[in-house]
């Protein structure tokens, strides 16, 4: 569906094609006939494509800037440290694609082959896809409305040739809008193992994260757990801990207890994390002894445990590489 008119009632609405704002819309006839409400054939196509992907993990947060992309990248790095584990990282933040920079892949381009788009490989067992690879300049802005963003996400899920993959990690933009609805809807038949939700300790972040959790419940997306990022800062000079984002309402721990959701772990704020991301290097390699590295590894381990104790449902064939 191309650009919808302002005031579009939505293609699934009873008013689809019949509302006042529908006049003049090129899709009016389609919607009025009820065909707009028919399931998108891409859902089945994506289900087929996902047969070679064992586990699908969404990384979410209602709040921006809490470290989703940083976490997604390091989850990918951590899982790929085992050379027998095939990892794929998909960046569906269409307006602000940070993953290429964080993975040290800025300037790379996507290639087409007979079997679809080829991901860009960081390692033999770690492939990445992002709209960032489709932009020719770092200044290019992706000024797209929802329907066009949704089309891109559909292509990413249907047309990228991931090959045999143990973990597909999907990094998302902040919010609860088109990108989030689309990825859940397009993967409806393929099944998402669960969502990892990122937050920082302060109430302003938790407010948005509660909405994200509500979104997950609404769309029946299982929640693997919550990660509290930037949780405490150790001064490099005096080594004392302080809170940059004070947990005035009890932080993620209180929220998780309240909502009965697992707290996967807390990652302290290490200034080397930001620097590593800027350089496109794995923080685990730059600072292997940092408490933040230990925290990340423990969280990654818990995610792996969740995935193996909740085996993927229908639509998955045994992969050549078993995790």
């Amino acid at each position: 569906m191309e650009e919808a008119p302002h005031g579009c009632p939505g293609i699934d609405s009873a008013q689809a094609g019949r509302g006042a704002s529908c006049q003049g819309c090129p899709n009016q006839r389609l919607c009025a006939s009820g065909a707009g409400a028919a399931p998108d054939p891409a859902v089945e196509e994506i289900k087929e494509k996902m047969k070679t992907v064992k586990h699908r993990i969404l990384v979410l947060s209602g709040k921006g800037g809490v470290g989703k992309s940083t976490f997604s990248a390091h989850l990918a790095h951590g899982l790929a440290e085992d050379g027998d584990t095939q990892v794929a990282l998909l960046d569906i933040d269409i307006c602000g694609p940070s993953i290429p920079k964080i993975m040290g892949l800025e300037g790379e381009q996507v290639h087409q082959s007979g079997s679809g788009w080829s991901p860009v490989y960081v390692e033999d067992n770690l492939g990445v896809m992002s709209v960032g690879f489709l932009l020719s300049s770092p200044d290019d802005a992706v000024i797209w409305r929802g329907p066009k963003k949704n089309g891109m996400i559909k292509q990413f899920l249907r047309d990228v040739d991931w090959g045999d993959v143990d973990y597909l990690i999907i990094d998302t933009p902040p919010g609860t809008s088109d990108e989030h609805l689309s990825v859940v809807q397009y993967l409806a038949a393929a099944h998402i193992d669960g969502a990892v939700i990122l937050t920082t300790p302060q109430e302003v972040a938790l407010q948005d994260v509660r909405k994200e959790i509500s979104f997950c419940h609404k769309v029946k997306l299982p929640i693997i757990g919550v990660v509290e990022n930037m949780s405490g800062f150790i001064c490099p000079k005096c080594k004392k801990e302080s809170q940059i984002f004070p947990p005035t309402t009890g932080g993620a721990e209180a929220m998780c207890q309240d909502l009965k959701i697992p707290l996967l772990g807390r990652v302290p704020l290490d200034p080397l994390i930001g620097k590593s991301c800027d350089k496109g290097q794995s923080f685990f390699v730059e600072a292997p002894d940092s408490p933040a590295t230990a925290a990340y590894r423990s969280i990654i381990h818990r995610i792996q445990e969740f995935c193996s104790s909740h085996p993927s449902l229908k639509g998955t064939e045994p992969s050549a590489t078993c995790s």
């Binding site: 920079k101 770092p138 992706v142 407010q207 302080s242 930001g274 991301c277």
Partner: protein
Amino acid sequence: MEAVAEPGNLAGVRNIILVLSGKGGVGKSTISTELALALRHQGKKVGILDVDLCGPSIPHMLRAEGKAVHQCDQGWVPVFVDQEKTISLMSVGFLLENPDEAVVWRGPKKHALIKQFVSDVAWGELDYLVVDTPPGTSDEHMATVEALRPYRPLGALVVTTPQAVSVGDVRRELTFCRKTGLQIIGVIENMSGFACPHCAECTNVFSRGGGEELAQLAGVPFLVFCQVSAYFCLFTREGLVSVRMPQCT
């Protein structure tokens, strides 16, 4: 949901400033709030329009949560956050029955509400209307710029942190401003450094250099926003331009 443009509702607003960033979590809402409070401190009448529909933070920052929006002949009455009625605010946060409820809307519906926020809110006489936006360059931003265009906004303050990852996103926001004809008033660098409360050592927790690089790229003034002790301050190279003692945490 079609809103008929009511020129009356923004006719009394002298200056409109948008606060933008391609990147999330850089401090747009904090800076929008601090800017409004600093302007109020200078004796101005200020309104804040929060067009972040998925993550409306301004009501919390101004301790205005739970307040109700009333109707009048001209449309919605914005919520006054203070007794003296010097700061008014409109946010989707006031329209939600349950604050934890997610606004799970696709673009067209978000677009429609933003149009209403611009045309159907009785702002009255304001010296400044500060518009806080979500991160990105999508429906909310296009709707806001389109709806505000007839009222000729002063321009945009673009916020970044020092990190290259932030600059990477915010460069695209600068392109958005150029393409939509929005003047860039300045680039604000936030979270430049954190002073340890125990030993006062300042650490660059989010790297360094990004804001200045971005300002140079755009050829616009570079401003640094930071908290020094209890004061919120905005600096240019020439020195302090604004300082405020916060009344809320």
